[in-house]
Symmetry: C2
Subunit: 377 residues, 2 copies
């Protein structure tokens, strides 16, 4: 790990630090930027989505191939997931909201993995029981987003291991310790569950093909930090006679504390949870949301604010203001100094609270729906 | 691995080579020899069994504690297993026959593990499908030995992974790569399934306690080469609030080619399979069974044979002549030269064929019983 104090940034599946430079990530991770041409091809099928349009989802692997297959009538399935590390925060919802859009637009199946062992294996102090509690809470947030239960299959690694472990072993036989060491930076003090884990994350990318007895293309929408897993998955799957999964990657919703790194379930002041009440949201945004405004009102009016580094503005851009015209107006007003940081924060607070009010209602109703989403063996 | 050419011996869970020195193994593995006192205590409960009496089962860990618990009314369960690497040979049956004796004598449950992924992960050329075929064949041999289906539970790692994988992760979190490297001699080219595997082998030692919600002592009868797995298991289980499993270890049935190493499913001329017909057994013993006799009949009559290195005699001693007096008579007749190698071989052929005739009948009948032995989730 590079030293945080050097002011550099790093991105691994377990940690994101620093002012993430996405162009650099594209080079580092070896993903492809989504070209305007590809974007237009997708939009022709799906209609517009602001997350694609604004390059929140900015990179991909093999997406062109996937769209080619789709255009030939060869439907894909979607695969994404949630590793239950703690409560769900707004940053998590971003990928899933876009996934739901894709599911509806393409009318395809979604396999949603809950690797309930992952964070238990990677976090020294997280107990197995806590991980299970997180799992039981986290499923509610996913269901609350309105996925179609008939086309959405939850798989929980420990509970569905009788479907997954044998398949994971097929993947594992092709991955050496050297390979995971260089992909994830393990040293010999890594536990043997951590070392094996990536093979379980690979499984949903081909499990539907195994269960259906035919090769089905797979598209994985995910945050860029998960790419090392799927790069390994893509290396191995053709050796097992499966397609390489395609993927589409998004940037992170910045943490409250500033437009670098990502929100973290375990750092309380950096994130807004889906279970936060209106007062908590107001308090967090007012107290912690990093502002792009100037130190004094006078200065602000004269020089204007910086929406690029303003967390409230970024929340609107990433999630809460899908309307481009409205977003541009806010952008311009803030940049010119006509809108104060306090006013911008209030817009964001209102948007988040309106969203969470609905989400929390749906989350309550989700309790009764869990069983209908679980994949039945 | 030490070099075979050095004429030394080595024992790992995956390979046994050379003239195994059991006293040395006791020191190397750190197991305890079964004392006459402990043997008598066991025999008081179980009655005599020639495999214990003749020190075929010669070493243990915590067996005294287990018998103490049993004497206080705290019943244990038995755990043994079969990794389906190929066809079952006579050497495999030895442990299981003794396990059946213990099950009946102590009237206890037996958990029988089939780690159907293990050999797939460890043998480069073994396919997953072949391993499954081996599994389906191997279960028949176990059932044919007459275990009580009401008290015997088969668990197949891939099929019962929904019960096992989560528990294996709890074990895995406590085992570092350094630990498995030194226990099993892995290097960085080991695949990540091999590295994880030992945590799956640990699970049956405490799974019945998890399922029953109370700590039940465990006794593992096994061949000494599996000890590195269970030594790790014993280190970890108390950290998870479980008992250390006790174990009782046997020596190997020598391969046909001589009283060193062990029989191997993958070396055809070294082993008699449970599916061999009478002619094949006769041929293998006559052609390959290493003889302790002299080069000429005249010399043999004068100097006598060496039963210690004679494979036929060792088969009688390990498995096929439970009657001590009869065995002693054969021993003395052979040693004095009164019995020829041919005569000794014929006795062994007849004994093995009589056993296999019955075993193969029971093996056929076992096909219909498989389901009743599988642990129902």
């Amino acid at each position: 790990m590079k030293d945080a104090k050097e002011g550099k940034s790093y991105v691994t599946p377990w940690e994101v630090f620093g002012d993430v430079n996405y162009s650099k990530l594209i080079t580092e991770f070896g993903v492809e930027e989504i070209s305007d041409e590809l974007k237009k091809r997708i939009e022709k099928i799906t209609g517009k989505h602001f997350m694609l349009d604004r390059k929140i989802f900015f990179a991909h692997r093999d997406l062109k191939w996937l769209i080619d297959e789709y255009s030939k009538g060869n439907k894909f399935f979607l695969y994404t997931g949630r590793s239950p590390s703690g409560p769900v925060h707004l940053g998590h919802l971003m990928t899933w909201q876009f996934t739901k859009f894709l599911q509806d637009a393409f009318d395809v199946e979604l396999w949603f993995q809950f690797p309930d062992e992952e964070k238990f294996l990677f976090k020294k102090d997280l107990t197995y029981e806590e991980a299970q509690k997180n799992l039981n809470e986290n499923v509610l947030d996913v269901i609350a987003l309105g996925f179609n239960p008939k086309k959405t299959h939850f798989i929980v690694n420990t509970k569905h291991a009788d479907l997954m472990y044998g398949e994971a072993c097929k993947v594992a036989k092709k991955i050496t310790y050297s390979m995971v060491k260089s992909s994830f930076g393990f040293d010999d003090s890594a536990n043997i569950g951590q070392i094996f884990y990536t093979s379980m994350q690979a499984v949903p990318a081909f499990l539907p093909s195994v269960l259906n007895g035919k090769k089905i293309p797979c598209l994985i929408p995910h945050a860029i930090d998960q790419d090392p897993h799927f790069r390994l998955t893509r290396d191995i799957l053709p050796k097992l006679g499966h397609h390489k999964p395609a993927s589409i990657q998004c940037s992170f919703l910045p943490p409250l504390t500033g437009a670098n790194g990502k929100m973290s379930s375990s750092k309380h002041d950096t994130a807004i949870y889906t279970t936060d009440n209106a007062k908590e949201v107001e308090h967090k945004i007012k107290k912690y949301a990093f502002s792009g405004g100037k130190d004094t009102l006078e200065e602000h009016r004269r020089h204007g604010g910086n929406p690029y580094i303003d967390v409230s503005f970024q929340y609107l851009r990433h999630m809460f203001e899908p309307d481009d015209k409205k977003l541009r107006d806010i952008h311009n007003a803030y940049k010119s100094g006509a809108m104060t940081s306090g006013e911008l924060k209030q817009i964001t607070i209102d948007k988040i609270n309106a969203f969470l009010k609905e989400h929390q209602k749906k989350r309550e109703l989700a309790i009764k729906k869990v069983d209908s989403f679980m994949y039945k063996k």
